[in-house]
């Protein structure tokens, strides 16, 4: 189930078990983020060996958005068999610092910042 919005897109590619987030996440609160969290948890519930979250073109993420990603990380943590890979970019200033913090919730999380 993909989400295509004027400001942002969330696409799930089942073949590669990759969720691609693009644009700017500026939604308000848990309620507005629920559809995005649903795409993320559904991808995790398929229990792939590796689940990739591609955030390289996610230009902006507000605080409710980082909370949503944290909820996803906590959700996927229950599946010990799934390796989570997060892709980020140096070109997006917030990613380097914020993405690294997810390893505190899931020490096995693999970060690829290009």
């Amino acid at each position: 189930m993909d989400i295509i919005h004027e400001d942002y897109q969330v696409r799930y590619d089942a073949a590669t078990a990759t969720v691609i987030c693009q644009g700017s996440f500026r939604l308000r609160g848990t309620e507005e983020y629920a559809p995005i969290l649903q795409v993320l948890t559904a991808a995790a519930d398929a229990k792939p060996a590796t689940l990739t979250l591609d955030l390289r073109t996610l230009q902006f993420l507000n605080s409710s958005g980082i909370n949503t990603l944290a909820k996803f990380v906590l959700h996927v943590r229950q599946y010990n068999a799934t390796q989570v890979v997060m892709k980020g970019s140096h070109r997006v200033p917030w990613q380097e610092k914020s993405l690294k913090n997810f390893q505190r919730l899931l020490p096995g999380l693999q970060l690829e910042i290009e």
């Binding site: 980082i66 944290a70 906590l74 200033p93 917030w94 610092k97 914020s98 913090n101 505190r104």
Partner: protein
Amino acid sequence: MSATQPPRGPSRKALLAEVQALRQRVAALEQEKHDLEIMLEMATDHADDLSEALQQECDDLETVLELTTDHGDAIEADLQEQAEALARRSQFIRETFGRYVSEDVVTQLLDAPEGLELGGAKRKVTILMSDLRGFTTLAECLEAQEVMRFLNRYLEAMVDVILAYRGTIIEILGDGLLVLFGAPLSRDDDAERAVACALAMQLRMDESNAPNRRAGLPDVEMGIGIHTGEVVVGNIGSQQRTKYGVVGSAVNLTGRIESYTTGGQILISPTTYAETAALLTVSHQLTVAPQGVAAPITLYDVRAMEGAHSLCLPTPMEMLVPLPQALDLRYTVLEGKFAGSTMYGGRLVKLGTKTAELHVDQPVAAFSNLKLHLLRPSGEVVPEDLFAKVVETLPEDACGVMVRFTSIPEAAWTFLDTVRRL
């Protein structure tokens, strides 16, 4: 005493049974105690598990909170940087344009910074060039401070008018102005505003001249040329010094058109005329063949405009009076800023305040600039040079020309005044 006396109290058998029952009771109690101990242990273990899970949840929440705060800090730092970059850009735009465009143009530029190509862009603009006539002569009569006072008074009035009509002042060179309509922002009515601005500038000249007139000094007049065409605009210069500038043949042509004007006149090119014709009152048309232009072009002498900008120049009260006796004169034709070497003779036959009809010995082309010396009836030369532009060659007489004086020195002014009163 008999040994067979029966025993008193409970029988041995009954006692044994009681002991047995007590033993069983103890065993049951021990079992119960054991069970309770296990239950207690289980409950404790369970509580430990629960507490551990709660602790884990608590730790996670703390981590998420820190994560969110850190993320907020990262975004704030990024936003701060962006805000600073934007502030630097605003400052740059204000410094580049602030002095020469109106405040609302600066605001528009700031609102749409991406839309603005400072690097250079080809675009259609309407170019206005103005220059003062008779200023050099006036400057010679005045103290340096007076000259500056006049120039500043004049420029202040002109800049005021130009900004009101949303023109962009590209250059102030002495008494000349180069103004664009259509850059950095283009509007549909660029040509219309340019012509209206020129009329308004001419109307404001009176104000600049008023203090000089009170001091008995001659008026300074302004000529304005306007042309619409494609130019390249952008920041031109080296790293040390850049300015918003304009280049293109359209700029050169505007300069030429301006050079055909006499004081108080506004001449516009066919391209500007095409966009404004319906609104204009044109007193006459003239055909010129400027250097560097393939075919001759028609220029339009604008006197008034209607529509959104309703402006009208006062009709010049110019009456040519035939002189009872023609005045002898000598003249040379100016080439650029230099006087030609050959002096010719001629006669001044009709005289107005600023115009005159001459009969010249050698035919001269329209728009030639002449340097004249008047001769008194005694044959003595009136001191100082008089300058005039040929505004018309008279068709009925190959040597008859209409001239408009562009600079009248004091001595000549006094002399002509005497002649007029005769």
